[in-house]
Symmetry: C2
Subunit: 126 residues, 2 copies
DNA sequence: CTGCATCCTCAACGATACTG
DNA sequence: CAGTATCGTTGAGGATGCAG
């Protein structure tokens, strides 16, 4: 592995994966993607009802970020009271299979990982 | 998608993916995994030489976390000065293909994503 | 209904110094 | 060589109130 590649990986601005992981790696993005995949089209408050524990602010921030990356399409209906719908773009659809492979791996190994963590705690505690 | 599943996904403690993403989603973990995959076995300072921009503390923290999750094996050679070697476990090997599929997707779409972000900035700026 | 503005907290990250 | 200890910074995330 030459230094040129490493420099790219060390630099968040230049590294493609870090660029993507910095987004889906945060607290809510993945969850929003999975809910939208399941439900196809949802309004702001509908999304909020699905993910009750998210704050209004973070839902707003998360959706904006997804929209900026072209992963979510936002449709405004000019009426009062306003109606806004969110749905996944094709780009998001092409990303989801890879997400799911990671989700599946996590499900398959989470018990082993938690066991490892517990054991590691015991070993290092004293 | 029923509420039971959603509750699990909303709760970091219970959600498998969030458990895993919270680790590999941080600043350095992914990079360490990729370097170790390439180089097989490395000592602490060798790793540091590959990833020059990481601080000693964060390299230490990252390795500890990976070791706790059973993704990295740490071997101490009882000698002076000390010699410690790090290498990936089989669990990490089984995870890496999924990481790579995400890396590849990121490489394929990063230009489009950056273009979207730029365009989004322009549209929302005014 | 769909947000934005503001203020606040806490944990990740970093810089530096020190140690077995 | 391979870390730990300590302190300081910074930004993600959260609570609350207000607005079109």
């Amino acid at each position: 592995m030459d230094q040129e590649i490493l420099k790219k990986y060390s630099n968040v601005e230049e590294c493609p994966v870090r660029n993507v992981l910095d987004r889906i790696g945060n607290k809510w993005t993945l969850l929003v993607l999975l809910v939208l995949e399941e439900e196809k089209v949802l309004r702001f408050n509908e999304l909020h009802n699905y993910i009750v524990t998210i704050s209004q602010k973070m839902l707003s921030v998360t959706l904006k970020s997804l929209e900026a990356d072209g992963l979510v399409k936002r449709t405004i209906y000019p009426q009062v009271p306003p109606k806004v719908e969110y749905e996944l773009t094709e780009r998001a659809q092409s990303l989801l299979p890879h997400i799911h492979s990671l989700v599946d791996w996590s499900k398959d190994h989470i018990n082993d990982i938690k066991a490892s963590r517990k054991n590691y705690e015991l070993v290092t505690k004293k």
